[in-house]
Symmetry: C2
Subunit: 476 residues, 2 copies
């Protein structure tokens, strides 16, 4: 092992092979559920260095854990406790390699922080629409490795849909340059999408060519109180019809989730929080290529139609950017308000939008019947059928004991309900090490067989992020 460390020091320079001191930022996951121990944290500065590091590790059959901002929620980028795995941090690879305005593309290195990618696009007068809570610290490589979603998916798609090409270091330490910024390219199997969402188990994403969009002339935000989840889904349909591709955000929030924001962030103004006949509120965003006036007119026409239909009880359209940011801030404060309230069990599930109302009815009733005192914090990206259907410990009693005794059961109940409605137990957070058993349980055996075959074919030594996505296997 000390020979490997010497080799790694030769490749990236001794200061970039970390073996001592507090490495917890690399060794434990974002939610601090897993505390690993690395052989070393290696920080290459270039694709060639990444390739050399992977080759050196392959020669000694040493496992590698690719890591970006380490903000994942499914424990997919931290080492196990063996002290034998190398954390491969991409954080030094931050370059914006090129921007092509006429082609609407941007090429960046994997360690580029998402906010900096957004900024590079904005500096060129263009939009990179991927947006999510961790954007100030997550990296684009991690976003692509986990196919991150976020709040703009209803219009622009997940990370997958925003990527035209990748540069990847294979488990053999070879460099695949697939960075062409082409919108049509049917020359063989789609390797790009195989690496996207594979969570570092098939290779290391080192750079990406991303799609850019024109900056909209105006972005307006509205907040609507709705009488039921059915009404929220009806409002979604009306919004698609009336705004077309102008609909860039559609978030739903249950009143209990909002009440936690009211309780723990009293400085925030939460519209319609006291409207008893509205169990949910919806945040809508309308992006317009014409003007703010036009956007406002379209929004008002939509809301008028929705009032007449009965799917909206009351609504406000933000009058200023500050007001719009305030509304988004309420939505984005729910996870923190939940944490302030105490321990909770998080889910990241998706169901066809049409089946969300029936799913929520079913799952709410099931959990309330099975787990006394349970409190449901239901919010998420309804436009994508994606709910963070979270469960807060009961107001009374010991929350730690609740989690210890009930977490597995709550998960089983929620995931069984999701499966019953044809949904997914992991919509946008990935599988990581956390949900490997759930993948085995809920993914089709035929699909799992193909996944194992692909893993074996591309990483026969099993050195790339072993135990993430698929169960760890002995090398054949």
């Amino acid at each position: 092992m000390s020979k490997l460390l010497d080799t790694l020091r030769q490749i990236v320079g001794a200061p970039n092979v970390l073996t001592e001191g507090d490495l917890s930022a690399y060794e434990q996951d974002w939610r601090r559920r897993s505390h690993g121990k690395a052989l070393a944290v290696v920080r290459p500065a270039s694709t060639a260095e990444v390739a050399a590091v992977v080759k050196a590790c392959a020669e000694t059959a040493t496992s590698l854990i690719p890591q970006g901002g380490n903000t994942g929620l499914s424990v997919g980028s931290t080492p196990d406790t063996s002290g034998t795995q190398v954390v491969l941090s991409l954080q030094r690879m931050q370059a914006v390699r090129s921007i092509d305005r006429d082609n609407l593309t941007l090429t960046v290195e994997a360690g580029c922080i998402l906010q900096n990618v957004q900024q590079a696009a904005a500096n060129a007068g263009l939009l990179f629409p991927l947006s999510l809570a961790a954007e100030g610290s997550c990296t684009i490589g991690g976003n692509l490795g986990t196919n991150a979603g976020g709040t703009q998916v209803v219009r622009y798609g997940n990370s997958r849909e925003l990527c035209l090409g990748l540069e990847v270091v294979t488990p053999q330490g070879e460099i695949w340059d697939g960075l062409k910024g082409l919108r049509k390219d049917n020359t063989g199997y789609d390797l790009r999408d195989l690496f996207i969402g594979s969570e570092g188990t098939l290779g290391v994403i080192t750079a990406a060519t991303l799609k850019l969009f024109p900056q909209p002339a105006a972005r307006l935000t509205a907040w609507a109180a709705v009488p039921s989840m059915e009404a929220a889904v009806r409002l979604l349909g009306l919004s698609h019809q009336q705004l077309g591709a102008g609909l860039t955000g559609f978030e739903v929030m249950g009143q209990f989730a909002l009440s936690l924001v009211v309780r723990h962030m009293p400085q925030l103004r939460v519209p319609f929080a006291d409207l008893a006949e509205a169990p949910y509120c919806v945040l809508l965003e309308n992006s317009d290529s014409e003007s703010e006036e036009h956007a406002r007119g379209r929004f008002e026409a939509l809301l008028e139609m929705a009032f007449e239909d009965g799917c909206v009880l009351d609504a406000v359209v933000a009058e200023s950017i500050a007001q719009a940011k305030g509304l988004w801030h309420v939505r984005e404060s729910i996870p923190l308000a939940q944490a302030e309230e105490g321990l909770n069990i998080k889910h990241d599930i998706s169901v066809a939008a049409s089946r969300i109302p029936a799913f929520v009815d079913y799952a709410d009733a099931l959990l309330q019947a099975e787990i006394p005192g349970v409190r449901l914090v239901n919010f998420g990206h309804l436009g994508d059928g994606n709910l963070h259907y979270n469960v807060q410990a009961p107001a009374e009693g010991d929350p730690k004991a609740f989690l210890r005794e009930q977490e597995a059961r709550v998960n089983d109940l929620v995931y069984e309900a999701v499966a019953k409605f044809g949904g997914s137990f992991s919509a946008e957070h990935g599988v990581g090490a956390l949900k490997v058993d759930k993948l085995q349980q809920y993914q089709s055996p035929v699909a799992l067989g193909m996944m194992r075959a692909i893993k074996q074919a591309l990483d026969p030594l099993g050195i790339m992020n072993p135990g993430c996505v698929l169960p760890r296997q002995e090398a054949v």
Copy 2:
């Protein structure tokens, strides 16, 4: 072999195992470049029958050639001349299984003709936007198998982007049900996109869940004369900026291509065909979620800006649906006008939009210098960087002799130029059997290595469409 035929007859019924009579519709490709001989053409009616057919073939290591409408342009769906391969026709699997308006999804079987898919969506008041010349006879399974593109990609993406889930029969005859209509689902490797574009070499697509969109309130078409390819690219940028997602079509046509339409289809009105200072015309489509009046206003504002900029010399906006159809008809008549003019060499290339002007300058000059009398029929989907950069035999001389002597050389010159500009030799038509050698020549060796490993992992017997995409290999 007669035992296999008996088994196949038991599975699909004797009338659906064709071995006699004129089978040329199944055995030769659309452009009649390849004339094969099948052991049998088998026409299953259900996914279970497809699975049983594949199992029976796998047991005898018999090759299978999945086939939809057999309209492909790269010889990817016909048997070789050995008389040992089974053509697996999906044409009897035409059902529209379900439509989900609130989820904006449609589930159809692979043999459903594209026009019928479009119609099923329209009947529900919704839009399935994939649109291409062969839509009256191609099938959605073939569209997905080849990741077909077409005329609406600038807004809606290729077939890949329009598909949420697949049902696939594996080379082992197992059924993978991946038909969830979810917009977010990060539960393992992206098998869907691996099958899309794999041209039947990894399994058989039997059904798909597709994305639908609201029908736009209005669709307007304009036709603009531009002074250069640079100006066309500038117009593309302005159109993105001004119309946003309203830009649903952006086609470029060289004046020589249009002159062939004028010559061979004198009944068609071709605007600006005699405008000497305009080497190209552009067809633009603007889809609007509001109204025709609004669409017209946006189009006029765009064209006014473009006149001022100088990137448009003259333009018309169609006043009626009939006029709009007339303009699209001109664009779509170019391939037929080319055929009327005589023999020609077709290409389907893509280059970053920003590099298209320099590419065209370079390739035009190269071909004119190297191939005396060559005539360039240049048209295509500029919004996607995709040109059908075709070469018509010289006006004088024997066109058959020209093709015989020059086709390989013309291809080499064009593909070398494409490679020099970082483009793709197959933008939307796929590799098929026709371009297997080009894939070996121009695709990255690292990528080819991964493709071979995936093929070997999923189809170890090598029975699925052997010799398509990748060179035929001996079973290991």
